[in-house]
Symmetry: C5
């Protein structure tokens, strides 16, 4: 559950000065890796940086620089980059405190975007989430991730391939491409979640047991958490579409509208899945009730049939000296016959009541 309530973790001591740069949260990467790509329509340079100082100076204005930072535990890296880009101390703090709610803060010539990336692990039913921050300047984008991962790899491939709009457009388009990649990842997670739901659904209908119920509740939590991550991301996209960040060109906004549509679609699907999962507990209980009823019915029928018969046997087991039936020649068989008759009548009765 840690991951799910991740956004609960607070960045620093309560009451501490705002803008205090402290990394909070688990260290999820061994060392901080910085990857730099400089490109324009004609040219692409790409390399791993040994130290943060190689990140500057940026390339000449006509091109775009993308700095990708994996690992957040080195406060110095963040501070150096932030100060070079003229980032507000609060935004630097937000990069480091890995429990951010997705948001967009526009500081005029620099835009800060916080997002949450989700990954569903089907083997453990766990939702792993990670904070991804973007700092977008006029011709630079810095992306911060908690751990080395490849959600941005397809974007890198597209840059290398040199086809499409990406190489020709500006930093705002690159930022859009990265946001798009994150939103796209929600679809992957949703597809896996949906399969898991399908799965559990089968389980519950055919052999309801507490373990599958626990899985249902895990799924529910995952959806609650996803919802919590995607709603504010939709707001981020909506703010961009409304043109609240002047760094983003009108040309790019058509594409951002697309991201917005996808975010809405993710929300729609999350809500539908939530509806479906919400119904599962009910199915579980009904399924359980139904099984219990089946069991009870068998007990009832067997007990109800045999209890009177046993009573009759008990009567003729009594040791009274004067019990005329006992002397009868066919007494025993008559008794057995009566018993059989009673049993038969009961079976017929139960059949009629459709209990059998």
């Amino acid at each position: 559950m840690k991951a799910r309530l991740g956004s609960l973790r607070r960045r620093k001591e309560p009451g501490a000065s705002p803008g205090t740069l402290v990394h909070t949260g688990e260290v999820k990467a061994d060392r901080v890796q910085i990857h730099r790509m400089d490109y324009d329509a004609e040219r692409l340079n790409e390399r791993e940086l040994a130290t943060v100082d190689e990140a500057f100076p940026l390339d000449e204005p006509g091109s775009v620089t993308w700095l990708n930072v994996d690992g957040l535990h080195d406060v110095g890296v963040v501070r150096t980059l932030g100060e070079h880009l003229g980032l507000h101390p609060l935004a630097m703090e937000d990069v480091l405190s890995t429990g951010q709610r997705p948001k967009l803060d526009d500081y005029g010539d620099v835009v800060y975007i916080a997002m949450r990336m989700v990954q569903y692990d089907p083997t453990t039913d766990d939702l792993i989430d990670e904070q991804v921050s973007l700092v977008v300047g006029p011709h630079v984008v810095v992306s911060f991730q908690e751990r080395p991962g490849d959600v941005f790899e397809p974007v890198r491939e597209r840059l290398r391939a040199g086809k499409g709009r990406l190489r020709e457009a500006g930093a705002d388009y690159l930022a859009y491409a990265l946001v798009d990649a994150v939103v796209d990842h929600y679809f992957v997670a949703l597809e896996q979640l949906s399969d898991a739901i399908e799965d559990v659904s089968e389980e519950i209908l055919h052999s309801p047991d507490p373990a599958s119920l626990e899985r249902v509740h895990d799924l529910k939590r995952s959806l609650v958490f996803m919802r919590k991550s995607i709603w504010p991301l939709r707001e981020v996209a909506s703010k961009l579409v409304r043109g609240e960040a002047s760094l983003f060109q009108p040309d790019t906004l058509v594409f951002v509208r697309d991201v917005y549509d996808h975010a809405v679609q993710v929300i729609d699907t999350v809500e539908s899945l939530r509806d479906i999962v919400a119904g599962m507990h009910d199915i579980y209980l009904s399924s359980l009730s139904h099984r219990m009823n089946e069991v009870m019915k068998v007990l009832t029928i067997i007990a109800t049939i045999f209890i009177p018969l046993t009573f009759i046997a008990g009567i003729y087991g009594m040791n009274f000296q004067y019990m005329p039936e006992l002397q009868w020649r066919w007494g025993y068989f008559v008794a057995l016959g009566i018993m059989a008759l009673i049993a038969a009548v009961m079976v017929v009765l139960f059949r009629r009541k459709r209990w059998l």
Copy 2:
């Protein structure tokens, strides 16, 4: 459930370049069929196209051309049509990715409308859904469907009949007529769903079993899905009514307002049915509880009456040497009498408590 979560399917690899034309989703038609109708108030030409190239050139400005494409798996067809009409690459991609949320994108001189058409299959309780896209230009409408179907047949009939406003009005009115046909189809599906609900409702009250519960949950999901399809369609109509797409003439908007009203009515009905279906699970559980109670009561009564009697029989079945009652002349009959008395008292008692 695949169909129901249809909108989950993502158009392409996460992170791929926007505007990449890849058909995603099942291939639901054998081959792509293109049907072309050119008409104005006086004249109507209609024919099946052998290749997409016959779609151009369009007719002279005074008339309207309607191109209907059944089947989406031929990416080339979509690209050719899109490029001729000056469609934005993102919109072309949306045509091909068959999990679109209904939406309206206004690109100035071309309007893209995505809708979902639903069909309820009463034999399997399945809701089949299909993406229908419209591309509306100044005097052309292109409609894309996933499979050959006849939801637009009545519109074609009206065109052929040559009566009514349709032949005289422009492409925007044709687009309206097509949207109207899709919304109208929701009513058909709702009517069938409503009958199925009526049906299951009877089943549940009179013989609740898990199969009917499963049907309830299928119905619930169908409604969830329908709601997900019609809400954004209402938004599409609402955008049109507000005049956000300048291609649509004020004359046509009166009719679009009608479509909007119908969409709202569909939503109202879906919500009412959801309310009714939501109550069914409760009825099911109560119905089950009630039956179980009936069964339990019978067990209780029979057991409660016979257990003490059997005990008495047990007592006189003991083999103690000195048991005075056993020697009594009328012992046996007294014992039987006492047993009958106890049974009678119990029956009276249970009657009083209204358990019997």
Copy 3:
């Protein structure tokens, strides 16, 4: 349930041309009756029309004409009236298709208002609903009802009495009076529904059985349906209050605000009743559980007391040759004593646990 999902019925074949005049829905009146009243402050003429042609010409401008049509199955009547008044074909179609959502369409010099009139039948727990349409012109009001009824009788009486504002005011005030009469009828239905709820509530607490549960669900559906009818009616009133229909004079709007308040009050009451009805299912289940627990307790206690006693009797009913107790002089009585003791201890124990 037919009536409840009434608004589901669609006006015509899906995809048919808008403005096609076809009556859909049950024929609820034998023949179409048209009643005409012409009045001004001094004068009142009233008569039944033999044919629709007598409806015209209207009276001179200073007076108001009210045409009330009972029965909708004669399409010709609606068309004739509609065309004389310059009604939009879509509105004519709406008059005829009796599943309209309440709405107000302003066509400038003619206003179309659709409402739903509800009536609760306490003997069958059924909610009967009927579509009432008003077409309001500068000095004419045409009201369409599905069946001859007298919800407008009080208005007619007021006109005949000649007192009050009604005779002096214009067609807009008459329209207000008719809307008010319809909204007032909701209060009558709600009062009856509320009595029925009170009734069922008693039933459920004191003798819960599935029949009363079915009644609860009927009541729930009636409320769902009422809600669906009154919400859009509130919107109609709200539109009028905001002055969206220029035909309505400011003087009349003060009264329309009153209607609006009443509609809100109806909604409030419907919501409260829904809250109360929603709780009933829970009460039913608890009531059932409680009864079942009572039954189970008795079984438990009797079984638990007698099972060990019967076991003891069983022991001394064994036929082992060497069973010393059997030879004891007081063996039988000791055994009986022990049994009584065990029973007493158990009763005390159960008393303590407050199960008895």
Copy 4:
């Protein structure tokens, strides 16, 4: 429940003319009492009026007149007062129809305010509610109550004491003071309700029975009703704060904002209590389930232990001629030993499963 659905009672026959003055609702006072206070900063006159005619003329402009009317069944009183003040007939009708939703109607130089006063009766768990209407003119306030009560007594005391702002301010401030007194009364009722909830909560946890469940539902209804009364009252305050009633001076609005805050606080508390009460039904059911489980467990254990033992006893009670064990010297004791062993094993087993 009458009081709770009070607002259902309709003022007059459906369809009757608006502005018809008819008192509807119970007569809650023996006779109509009118109390008159005239005051300015220096002076205070106070007297009971014998007839309504003594209410006029009002005092000279510099002072404020407060007329308090207890009892509404004398239509003449309301009409006389209303006509003198130039009150709209609809407002007069609202005063008399005691099922009003709280509202504010601004007629320019006269403001009509309807409120509902609630009182909780802890002995019967009943919520008593009463309509209080205020008619505010430039230097006069008329308050109408259904029954003689003292919710306004503290205001009278403050007027008599002559301290504070009240004596110096105008009629609008007096109106504010009266609204404040009504809102303050909600806190009293809420405090009592909250105690009752606390109470029932204890009851349910420790001895759940249907009576306490009925109390829960009474509390729920009381909260539903309170919510229905306070929400529109908040709107009234909100309208005043927004300056929609020009009679209210800006100086007074600061205080009205305070009333608004209190109304919001009442709503908050009502919602919290509703949340808590909503959970009670669940606790009740769980509490019941838990008790039933305890009972069932005892039955299970006793039955499960003795049933096999009784079976063994039954075997050796059979009368077969050749049953070797019966002849054994220690047969009886061995049988007893085996029985004891089986019982012991079972007890151990149940202990392990933690059923005992």
Copy 5:
């Protein structure tokens, strides 16, 4: 529960004059302590005041004075401070009535902010809450707390340390820092609550008993209460961000936006936890049902197997004179064999039905 419904407590007698200064609520501090800090960028004076009169005069305009008052039971202190600062009587009353809903009242040159500080006590599952009021003037901040506590200690430390923005900025920034400290405390409480939820969750799954259910409901109430405290605090922040309090400088608003973000994050987390807690009751019930089913199954199986066997034993325990089987040489063993066979068949049957 007292604390949870704390905001219910009303400040004074209903109907009393607004602005009456009466302390309501528990006295939570022994004596009123006033702490004064005067600072500017260079200088910091700090001392405990013996009497309230030492609070004035304030320092020269260039510096900021922070007066922190612990304990509210001395009405004189509040009145003296309030009057010196020109505080509206209603605001003074709000300081003293400790059940305020968080709010911001802007009186032009003085801003009044009410907040609720929460603390979770994990040992008792209690949520302790306290009202904190801020009165902000052009270069003075007065903070009122109910009891001496150290939530503001970190702010004091930062002032003493003299680093950061705090010493250089104005009173508005100090006010921001104090609001931030309060909001930060919610994270601490949430983290503890979240741990408690985790805890109870385990409990419920593995040994569901009513005590843990009670804990669930306590947690639910705590969350309801927290929600009630933080929502209006968000509104306070939102008002500040929108620039509604002119005392707050644009420079400070960037930081207030940060507080706003944190409040939203608290709300998000509270809602997620509420979702999770809401599901717990269901898990509890299922867990209970499942256990009961297990118990019932054992009873059913044992009873169902032995009841027929005991019946057979009963038959051969009858004392009829002519019972041929009794004379058979192997009768006894055949009977035992049949019994074993029946038992075996049943066990196999139950296995197949997967009841065993």
